[in-house]
Symmetry: C2
Subunit: 287 residues, 2 copies
C-alpha cells in the first residue's frame, strides 16, 4: 500500500515543519519561540494535535539525538491558543539510559504578561532502537480506497473558511462515517479515513501527533455538532511510520455527564499500528 | 447489584485512606508530607494506582471544595517509589469556573537530597455538578458472580509475600481470564474481575484511581510474566461510583516493540462506566 516516495528534501520546508518550528530563545537553554499560524485553526482555536506536535518538537530539540522520539506525550489544554507568537519552556525531569521524561509549557502573551495555554509531560526514547516484536491483535480499519472516499476538500466553503487546518491535509473520509454531513449521522460514534499532508510531507513520529487529532470530532457521527474542547490528550507513538497514506480511526464508547473519551488509532501503509491516543473532551453544548 | 451500605464512618480510617493520607508541610501552602507503606508494594515498588490516588488526594487538598474530584489525571512514573517518607508539591496552573488544571510532583529523599518519583497533571471539577446524560455504548464485562470467581487470597503464599497490595483488596478474577495461573494463558490479553476493599471501604473517585491499576498485568494472560513497569498512566473518572462491588476489565491490543498499552474500564454496581484508563508499560524482559 506504500506509495513510492523519495527521502525528505532538506531544502523543502513543508507546511507542517513550518507550523511546528521553534527557535531557541536568546540566553536560555530551555526556552523556545514559536509562531502559531492561523493556517492551523479549527473552530475556536489552534488545532490541539498541531500544538502537541509543536511541544513535541521543542522537547526533541531540548533532548538531543539519543532520545529523539516521543513514546508517550500528554497535553492538558489550559486555555484556547490563538494565532500569534508563543513561547515554550522545557524541563527534563530525568534522563536515563533508554528514556528521558520531560515537561513542556506553552505560553502566549496577554495584557498582563503571559498566559499558559498547554502543559505537557512526555517520555522520549529512540523508536528505532526498540525490539521488532509485533504481537498486535488489533486490525486496521476497513474502508474503501482513498479515491472512493469523501475528500474534506469538497466540504462547503463556509465550513472550510473556519478550518485552515483542512487546507493542509489530504483527508479522505470513509463514506460509511460521513452521514452526518447530509443530516444522517450513523449514531455509532466513529469517524475514519485516509490521511496524508497536502504538500506531500511524509509521516514521521511528530506528524503522528497531528494525525491523532486531525479528524472531525466523533460527536458529529452522533449528531452532536459544535466545538468539542479537549481537556486532556495522550498519544503513544509505537513505531516510526512507513511513507505513504495513514489510516486514522477515531471512536467513542462513553458519552456521559457532558464529556466523552475519543480513542484514535493510526495505521501506516505497512499495516502497522503506529500510534494510539485517547482524549477527554467536552460534549458540544447542543446536547 | 448494589449491596446495602451505610454512610462512611468518619471515625473509621480505612487502609486506603491511611495509604493516601497527606499532611500539609509546615510553612508551605503547596507541599505535603506522606508515608509510603510497604503494605502497598507489588513487585519492585509501590503500586502505581496507589501513587496516583495519593497524588490525587494531595491535589484535592490543595484545590478545596469547589473542584474536589479528578476528572482526568495523568502520571509519568520517573523512578520506582520505595516504602518510606515522601513529599508532594502541588501547583495550580489555572482555576476556572468549572474546572482547575493542576500539577503534582512526588519526591522521596535519597543520598543526594530528593529524587523525583512521579509527575502528574490533572483536571479537577465537581462530578456531582455534571449533567446526568448517559449515552454509553460500551457494555459491562460479563463474568460469573463473585462467589464463582477466583479470589487472589488463594494465590500461593510465596506470591502474596511480594504483593502487600493484594491483602488490602478483595479481588475475584473471572475464571476465564486466569488460565495463566495454571500455565494456560488464554492469549487474548484480557484480565477482569470483581473488586472491593478488604476492609469494606466503599468506592469514591479517589479509590477509582487505585482500581484502574489493581489487577494483575494483562501480560500474564499472554504468558509473559515479570514486572511490567508503567511509563504513563491516565485515568478519566466519569462519575461518582455507587457503593458495592466494582467490576474492572483490563485489556491490550498492541503488544509491540517491547511496549504495550493497557486499557482499563471500571463499572460500578449500578452498571455505570465510572472510570476509564490507559497506560503505556514495558513488556517484561522474558519476551
Amino acid at each position: 500500500m506504500a506509495e513510492a516516495s523519495s527521502p525528505v528534501d532538506t531544502e523543502f520546508e513543508s507546511e507542517f515543519d513550518h507550523g511546528i518550528a521553534v527557535s531557541r530563545s536568546d540566553g536560555s537553554p530551555a526556552s523556545y519561540d514559536a509562531e502559531l499560524s492561523a493556517g492551523w485553526q479549527i473552530g475556536g482555536g489552534i488545532n490541539g494535535g498541531l500544538l502537541l506536535a509543536l511541544m513535541g518538537n521543542a522537547l526533541r530539540s531540548s533532548l538531543g539525538d539519543a532520545h529523539s522520539d516521543p513514546w508517550s506525550i500528554t497535553a492538558y489544554y489550559v486555555s484556547a491558543s490563538q494565532p500569534g507568537p508563543a513561547r515554550l519552556t522545557t524541563e527534563v525531569l530525568r534522563s536515563g539510559r533508554t528514556t528521558s521524561t520531560c515537561s513542556c509549557t506553552l505560553l502566549q502573551p496577554d495584557a498582563e504578561g503571559e498566559v499558559e495555554r498547554v502543559r505537557a509531560l512526555a517520555t522520549y526514547g529512540s523508536l528505532a532502537a526498540l525490539p521488532d516484536d509485533v504481537r498486535t491483535t488489533a486490525a486496521p480499519p476497513q474502508m474503501p480506497p482513498p479515491d472512493e472516499c469523501v475528500s474534506t476538500a469538497d466540504a462547503p466553503p463556509s465550513f472550510l473558511a473556519q478550518a485552515g487546518l483542512l487546507e493542509r491535509l489530504d483527508l479522505r473520509l470513509d463514506p460509511a462515517c460521513v452521514g452526518w454531513a447530509v443530516g444522517e449521522p450513523s449514531g455509532r460514534g466513529r469517524v475514519q479515513g485516509w490521511l496524508r499532508m497536502a504538500d506531500g510531507r511524509e509521516p514521521d513520529p511528530l506528524l503522528l501527533l497531528l494525525a491523532v487529532d486531525a479528524l472531525p470530532p466523533v460527536t458529529f457521527d452522533l449528531g452532536l455538532f459544535g466545538w468539542t474542547p479537549t481537556l486532556e490528550l495522550t498519544a503513544h507513538v509505537r513505531a516510526v511510520p512507513a511513507p505513504g497514506w495513514l489510516r486514522v480511526k477515531a471512536s467513542t464508547r462513553n458519552v456521559a455527564g457532558g464529556m466523552l473519551e475519543e480513542d484514535a488509532e493510526v495505521w501506516d501503509s505497512a499495516d502497522r499500528l503506529v500510534a494510539q491516543s485517547r482524549q477527554l473532551a467536552l460534549v458540544p453544548r447542543s446536547l
